[in-house]
Symmetry: C2
Subunit: 246 residues, 2 copies
């Protein structure tokens, strides 16, 4: 048995998320179907760095699986891509020692969130960036708000209320903004993220950008440990899992 690590990209538009759910088309299901077929029906389990929700994209999700096939690692990528649907692509396959685990070995992640700020969003971007309805955010204020988020905090305020995780302390290493034409990108890196954390941060910091909140409120919101104090969860289709660090 060899343990393989694969870096994959997917367009989340037509998936009910990463994780297998009965009756739904998911990324995990498509990966396991192809691998199981390649292994002549022997069920292959795929483990990811973490799940992503419906319509969330990935440009650098990481998975691992164990294989009994003799396919050389450098040919595995092609072998998978030939059979996978076109909205999932394998970018790289590496052989790891058996101690590697796509989820437990994670040391950090990077996400990107994209807003379209042109007057009318291009029809080609409707699944890939969130329309700002012509609003032009004040990025300096969003950067000011980001300073309260960077660091080690209990992020209960930015976590979906229905989560079972007990320890909600995480470290955000960086949180920055950049314009790409008329699209605003937020890039956030940290040692781990709670359920919906990036989308709630995006939703809250956006409200700062458009003048609905003051940047300094961020401090009180974090201290409150109250999800109700933070802003809306920003839409799923603006979010990209970009890199997983090990």
């Amino acid at each position: 048995m060899r343990r393989l690590k694969a870096t994959i990209s997917y367009d989340g538009t037509l998936f009910a998320g990463y994780q297998v759910q009965p009756g739904e088309r998911t990324v995990q299901l498509e990966l396991e179907n192809v691998l199981t077929k390649m292994h002549k029906g022997e069920k292959v389990k795929v483990t990811a760095s973490g799940r992503t929700d419906a319509r969330v994209h990935a440009t650098g999700q990481v998975i691992h699986f164990d294989t009994t096939l003799a396919i050389p690692v450098e040919r595995y990528k092609k072998a998978l891509n030939v059979q996978l649907p076109r909205d999932i692509r394998v970018l790289e396959v590496e052989e790891m020692d058996n101690g590697f685990h796509a989820r437990y070995s994670v040391s950090g992640k990077r996400y990107r969130y994209i807003w379209s700020c042109e007057e009318e969003q291009s029809p080609f971007r409707r699944h890939y960036a969130v329309e700002a309805n012509g609003l032009k955010p004040d990025v300096a204020k969003m950067e000011e708000a980001a300073q309260y988020i960077i660091g080690t905090h209990d992020f209960t305020c930015f976590c979906a209320a229905n989560t079972s995780v007990v320890d909600k302390v995480r470290t955000v290493h960086s949180l920055s903004f950049s314009w790409h034409g008329e699209e605003l990108h937020m890039v956030i890196e940290g040692n781990g993220f709670l359920y919906n954390m990036v989308r709630i941060i995006a939703g809250t910091i956006w409200e700062v950008g458009i003048g609905k909140r003051e940047a300094k409120e961020m401090k009180e919101i974090i201290a409150s440990m109250d999800r109700g104090r933070a802003g809306k969860t920003a839409p799923a289709h603006g979010l990209y899992l970009e890199k997983v660090f090990y």
Copy 2:
């Protein structure tokens, strides 16, 4: 009655083309539905510069229609976009005199054709560029082939065989190539294009790029006036109607 000209963009992925066809979702149908609703049920006919096929995109299609509504021209764009599906966007609305006709007044068009030449096409580009399957074309050869196409010719060889148009003489003003990252763009401008002409040119010139044909064959192909001598019709989803000239 005022005659309005609108410049529109659409993502062709989920359309059975521009023109109304019974039982199909088309761009014209969506436009006429919204306009007819705005006109309280009075049927509004929309005329485009020409049709586009299923899955072909537009970043600068032009339409005209006549309206009895008192909406100021500068508000018409918003009024339409609020009701249109998100894969069609109105970019501009202008008031014209009644002599303007979106189709008969056309003096030329510009199309773009896009190939993805990275080793594996990004899942985000699968509907928007044609995968080159890792082939790297020789663009200098494609540029050489383009020189035979530029000019005024009978383009029967590059016209779908089932067309009823009699005069197949057209003028191609320019035909050029440029790299955008790992995507190759072909931009073609002319006074008019026959049915499937851009896609057949793209398919034929691509075969020159990947070494399946010589650039100089282009001269014989055009002289032959034989569709069978030209290459394959390139896939629809790589094609964009970019600008209509009046």
